[in-house]
Amino acid sequence: MNIRIAAQIAQTHLLAKKRQTLVAMLGVTFGIAMFITMISFMQGVNQFLEDSALDASPHVRMYNEVNTQRPSLIEQLNPGGFNVVYHQKPKDELARLKNGLAIADRIAKEPGVLGVSPQVATQVFYNNGPIQLSGTISGVDIERENRLYTLTSRLKSGSINALRTNPDGLIMGSTLARKLNVRTGDKVTITTPGGGTRILRVVGTFGFGVGTVDNTKSYANLSTVQEILQKDPSYITDIHIKMFDPLQALPFGRQLRAEYGYYTEDWATANQAILAGEQIRNMLTYVVSITLLVVAGFGIYNIMNMTVINKIKDIAILKATGFDGKDIVAIFLLQAMFIGLSGGLLGLGIGFSLSYLLSITPFEAGDFLSIKTFPVIFSGTYYAMGLVFGVVTTVLAGYFPSRKAAKVDPVSILRG
């Protein structure tokens, strides 16, 4: 087999039927362009949702799960016996992490940990005049919290320094602030479940772009919240941990749980709905893209089949003058490959342009999502995948007609 002559003949065939070649190419181009656009956009959406979920939630959260169910004393002493206890009250157990601050400092020294923020979180009522809204308040060391969630970039008004200098300061979720009709500088009354009240001044508002956070959460100083709850300065209910690599958080969470005996929750468990949605979108993307490519493949198959039928005399003459089956396969397969490769490359270009246009298209997502344009990911992997898919489809689509061409019996054609 001599690939150079085969290529020369393939080239002549392609150039002789420019329009047909172009149509076949455009089939692949369209398929690949759609594939690139869809996958870039879908993965962009996935990444965005994952990021916003991951940004707003810790990779690992350690807390003490208060268990209200406990066996009665008599049940412990006489298990399996006929024991009847009515209306047993739960034990007064604190949601605290014992030695929480010390644990936080130790975790911060572990490798792979980006930051640790020990905090006190509690449910509260926010009162402003007659309005009463329920929410949560987190007492944090704002420096450490900032390291985890880059609060500075999420502030809509005020500053985090104002919280450090003002012990009665409060940084409030932007949606919550709007509902309470308060702005930076206004005062809000906080009521804890224990009954304690305190008047705090709003020194800033933030927006994570995640509804459940912006709607309910506020940050205050750790000591302030401890005071409102009438607890000592070592009272810690939650430790939030961020890792350099989110995937490391899963085994790390399990390790911490075994080490300290407190309940840990990783981001994957906390955001199962988002991850499930991601899988469904991925599936959808691949199904649609592969369908498009298969359709393009059938287009090529058709055109190659027609070419083989049109060129049947030429095939006979080539065979008569000494070209063997492999040469004939090479001639037609090269044509299919050229169509696949050039159509594919053009498709990559168009796919890139479409994704770029999408990425600069304004998109008003409201309060829930903090984006201004459609999220699109530009990744070389998708382009490589698109090209590989395109070439494989066209080679398959070109192979069967080429094999048919190789089996042409020259005698029956040449005898007329």
Binding site: N2, R4, I5, Q8, I9, T12, H13, L15, A16, K313, D314, A316, I317, L318, K319, A320, T321, G322, F323, D324, G325, K326, D327, P410, V411, L414, R415, G416
Partner: protein, 228 residues
């Protein structure tokens, strides 16, 4: 003189629509440098015989030996290579590749053989085109040539690899008188230079100009005689 082609007891059947014996016990030899014509009426099996000799049709009984090589039972790739190296064809309906230029058409079998570099194949192709008087049309697409011109180019193509035998299936069957004479003239010149040629024809004038005539009827050779 050496024998370049030997056919022994060749039988061939067509099976569709019913079994029918086209060739019956064909035995003959061709010497090197001979200009042989096979004549006979339509349907006598002369073309079928030529396609057996051409190695493209492999479904027969008996033995065919060419250039010292037994051709029975060889695989298709071997036969393709053998055709490329040892055989040149001229068909009734000229059969050039229409998208290629005259020169490219002549060059293709030479490039396939790969015996010479491309530049040399081109020089040789030009030389063959000059031989048949088509050199000035070398850069024209084959589809722009007249029937007679195409047939002459087909002869040049058959010559490109200096084949052992040139085979022609009614090489003048589709041409007018002037072109027939022209093509015949070329064949004759080649034969004079020692080229072995086997041509199937039903043109008695053409046959009369060859060295030897084999006459066939109903699948058998009925007579064989040398021309003076």
């Amino acid at each position: 003189m050496s024998t370049v082609l030997k056919a022994q007891h060749v039988n061939k059947y067509f099976y569709d629509p019913e079994t029918f014996q086209v060739l019956k016990d064909i035995t003959f030899e061709v010497q090197k440098g001979e200009f042989l014509s096979i004549v006979g009426k339509s349907g006598c099996g002369k073309s079928t015989l030529l396609y057996l000799l051409s190695t493209m049709d492999t479904d027969y009984e008996g033995a065919i030996e060419m250039a010292g090589v037994t051709l029975k039972g060889r695989n298709q790739d071997f036969l393709a290579h053998f055709r490329n190296e040892h055989l040149g064809f001229v068909f009734q309906f000229h059969f050039l590749l229409p998208e290629f230029t005259t020169l490219q058409n002549v060059m293709l079998p030479g490039l396939k053989l790969g015996k010479y570099p491309e530049k040399e194949v081109e020089d040789r192709a030009m030389e063959k085109l000059r031989l048949i008087g088509m050199a000035e049309h070398a850069r024209k697409p084959a589809s722009k040539l007249s029937g007679g011109q195409q047939q002459r180019v087909a002869i040049a193509r058959a010559l490109i690899n200096d084949p052992t035998i040139i085979m022609g299936d009614e090489p003048t069957g589709n041409l007018d008188k002037a072109n027939t004479e022209n093509v015949f003239e070329i064949f004759h010149e080649l034969a004079d230079k020692g080229q072995t040629i086997i041509a199937v024809t039903h043109d008695p004038d053409f046959a009369a100009g060859t060295d030897r005539i084999i006459e066939m009827s109903d699948g058998s050779i009925i007579s064989e005689h040398k021309n003076p």
